[in-house]
Symmetry: C2
Subunit: 477 residues, 2 copies
């Protein structure tokens, strides 16, 4: 595969993306329309994402559990906005064990309803609260136009579902999880994000308030990379999730839900990748380092192999792979691992053996400094520092890109121009009608109303009505 030219991001970003996913063997199209197979390299990346998130969830008191794949159709119907939102996307099981089912079962599109049913059974008293449960699973929402990781019928995610005694606690939880997503995106994935509130039209079906982290992709479109919803008492009322408070009176709980999915893999690809292929952030990369041995004959091969023993031992704290594949030239291997986005390459040849050195090449700025020749002594420290530097440099580059392409247009004409190829950070009246008109005019939508506001007041960028908040506008995935 590596010998066919990858389309450049400039000429065709969408095709560049599709080709990278397939060539780097992150995922493949499944024989069922809309579905994907996540291949081992892509799944290893997702496992690292899972582990970075799971650590944060557990540190804030959450526990994991598993709820059934199948949900009775009648459950969805109990929350009006929820069923309206999800009905068109459902996969429905009508036959089980050879017989027509009396009540069709929905393959979960999300688990609020069945969670609601069980929480109503489990929660009796204020002593049982809060309930802080997370699920790692897959969900199904019917799609006809597949885009690997970004839009598939089945996708993998985590869904957190919590129940609280008060509205204040539920709001605090919703915000805490948004902050955890932002912290994960920035520190682990080197993906800068804008934290904000969703407009009414983009709220989760059944939520009172939805928050999001939005990231700018390499083509300047926005990707919703994680969401956190304050469900108020909507689901508690629909499913009778109630508790006896300290005065022995019956109260409805307030609940939240929050999710981050394999879409995030798409974000990592589109934020960091370049025309040579993937660039993976060191903290999440399945292989942080690849070692390519260089030799021209058996004597050299044996020498290099011997030297590699000590080098590999130093690399034990990193995710390091040695590429001993036969029948491939070093040049082919360099290209292959560059395409797969391995952050750091170590070459070891006969000269390195003689000099007690190795050659290091960074994936992120290969043009800048070329290879660095460093001593084998203290290599672990040098490599660790370099990986940290790569992680930080990827973040700074992405942040600079996002900032350079976020505009403050002076009027609606300028607004229409800038959102063709970037984001606009503009005063907005907050009205749905205005939002719809902007979308109609420009294809850009309110990505979020950022939590960080400049203060003061302004005039809506389109309708000039008084506006209390600025919104972030952009075209979205």
């Amino acid at each position: 595969m590596a010998d066919q030219r990858l389309p450049s991001r400039q000429e065709n970003f969408a095709e560049w993306y599709n080709q990278i996913v397939l060539r780097a063997e992150l995922a493949d199209y499944a024989p069922v329309r809309g579905c994907m197979v996540v291949r081992p390299y892509g799944w290893a990346l997702w496992e690292n994402i899972q582990s970075a998130l799971d650590r944060r969830f557990k540190a804030t008191g959450h526990v994991n559990a598993a709820f059934p794949l199948f949900i009775p159709m009648s459950f969805l119907e109990r929350e009006k906005a929820h069923v309206e939102g999800f009905s068109p996307e459902l996969a429905v099981v009508t036959v089980g064990g050879g017989e027509e089912l009396q009540e069709p079962l929905v393959v979960r599109p999300t688990s609020e309803t069945i969670i609601g049913h069980m929480y109503a059974k489990w929660i009796k008293s204020y002593r049982d609260l809060p309930v802080l449960i997370n699920l790692w699973n897959s969900v199904v929402r019917w799609e006809l136009r597949t885009k690997l990781f970004l839009r598939t019928t089945e996708f993998y995610w985590q869904e957190g579902h919590t129940a609280h005694a008060t509205a204040e606690e539920a709001e605090a939880e919703t915000r805490q999880m948004l902050d955890i997503y932002a912290d994960f995106a920035i520190k682990e994935a080197a993906v800068p994000v804008v934290r904000g509130r969703k407009s009414e039209s983009e709220r989760f079906a059944g939520a009172q308030r939805s928050y999001t982290i939005e990231a700018m992709m390499g083509d300047k479109r926005a990707l919703q990379a994680g969401t956190s919803h304050n469900l108020g008492d909507n689901f508690a009322r629909a499913f009778e999730i109630r508790y006896l408070d300290q005065e022995n009176s019956l109260q409805y709980c307030c609940t939240t839900s929050w999710g981050l999915s394999t879409r995030f893999v798409g974000a990592i690809i589109m934020v960091h990748g370049d025309d040579k292929g993937l660039i993976l952030p060191p903290r999440l990369a399945p292989h942080q380092i690849v070692i390519v041995p260089i030799f021209r004959n058996e004597t050299e091969r044996v020498e290099v192999e011997q030297a590699l023993k000590g080098i590999e031992a130093q690399m034990s704290e990193f995710r390091c792979r040695v590429d001993w594949r036969e029948g491939l030239t070093p040049g082919y291997k360099f290209n292959d691992w560059e395409m797969r986005g391995v952050p750091l390459r170590i070459e070891v040849g006969p000269k390195d053996v003689a000099d007690n050195t190795v050659a290091l090449s960074r994936r992120d700025e290969p043009g800048r400094s070329g290879k660095q020749i460093v001593s084998q002594e203290g290599l672990a420290k040098a490599v660790g520092d370099l990986l940290d530097e790569i992680q930080e440099s990827l973040y700074q580059r992405a942040l600079a890109f996002q900032e350079a392409n976020t505009h403050d247009p002076k009027d609606y004409d300028a607004f229409k121009e800038v959102v063709k190829d970037g984001w606009a950070h503009s005063w907005w009246c907050g009205e749905g009608e205005c939002e719809a008109a902007i979308k109609e005019d420009t294809k850009a939508t309110v990505r979020c109303i950022p939590l960080e506001q400049p203060g003061g007041k302004g005039q809506c960028i389109r309708c000039a009505k008084s506006a209390e908040e600025r919104a972030m506008f952009g075209r979205a995935y």
Copy 2:
């Protein structure tokens, strides 16, 4: 819950099991017939099982991936034995995105067929082999009579799927994975198992040879606790999984599959539990240690809390929980954690604070030695040693039980007696007719033909024909 009496294992083993699962909050019945909710305590146990297995899979070169939940019905029909085996148990999606589907989709009962389809696409040359992929997911096989963890419509498991160049390699892989399951069961779960081959009638649908680990439960019935299948070239031929060998000629691959599921949680409960509830092996227990603070007033509470800081710091390498729940007596907490099977309890009261000691109580032999008073100095070492001792003692007790209840009956009349309440290890002719007659007479089945054979020959325990192998017979879950 803890104040209601648990039925004893003697009076009603099945009800004892059901009550423990519910009261220890391992799992609950879902609103969909046949389905279960795995609650956080049960899921934490499963996560520890996953991690112990995943470590072993990765150490032997396997990688994880994810394949779709939905499989076209036509895929199952390509392997004749496979579709016959699974057809009666399928859940079928007939509606997607609001429309009737042209081809119904099966919710995976197992993934050999869709794996076969993709492997045929990915594997081209001997250089691509072996392919060693494992999936952690859930599968669906329709059930009407639910038994939590043991028999549910949806259950959680791992399924490994490998492809090899030769039949020998496939057989070696199949046996390697069986050995990994046995090693896991013995070392991590303290569950003794018999490794063996399945008889023809109990082979996986589509396999050439199936291996199993069988464990004896507390009621002396057998539980199939993990299986490993050599699929030969059955699926390779059905899905055209072929490779070019070194002489450039096209060959069929040989494939394997192997799985271990949340059934294993049931095994742990039934092997180790007693009339007070669960007993969890320390290596898998969600909480290895529970600390119960004892105090009668606020002054004592503050003293104990202060002392606990140092003790908790020493426990950092263990999964340790401090039970500060309010409004519950220490006695209630003791019973509660005993019922939940926490291996070791530490009590700390004012006298312990004064003496710089703690009181340790083992869950596994609470009657033997009562509490042990030990110094707070070097507590981590003492606790670590004790957990190892508990782990070993649980295994030895279970092994002694299995051996004491495995018999070598002299004739068929004696056989019929012993399999009412134990296993029979007897010569068997290997014929399906004879196997069926034994089942008809006794409800016992061939659990496996153990890999360890005494050598020599004998006469079949039922039909007296010449027999080359001994089989293990018992009633099974």
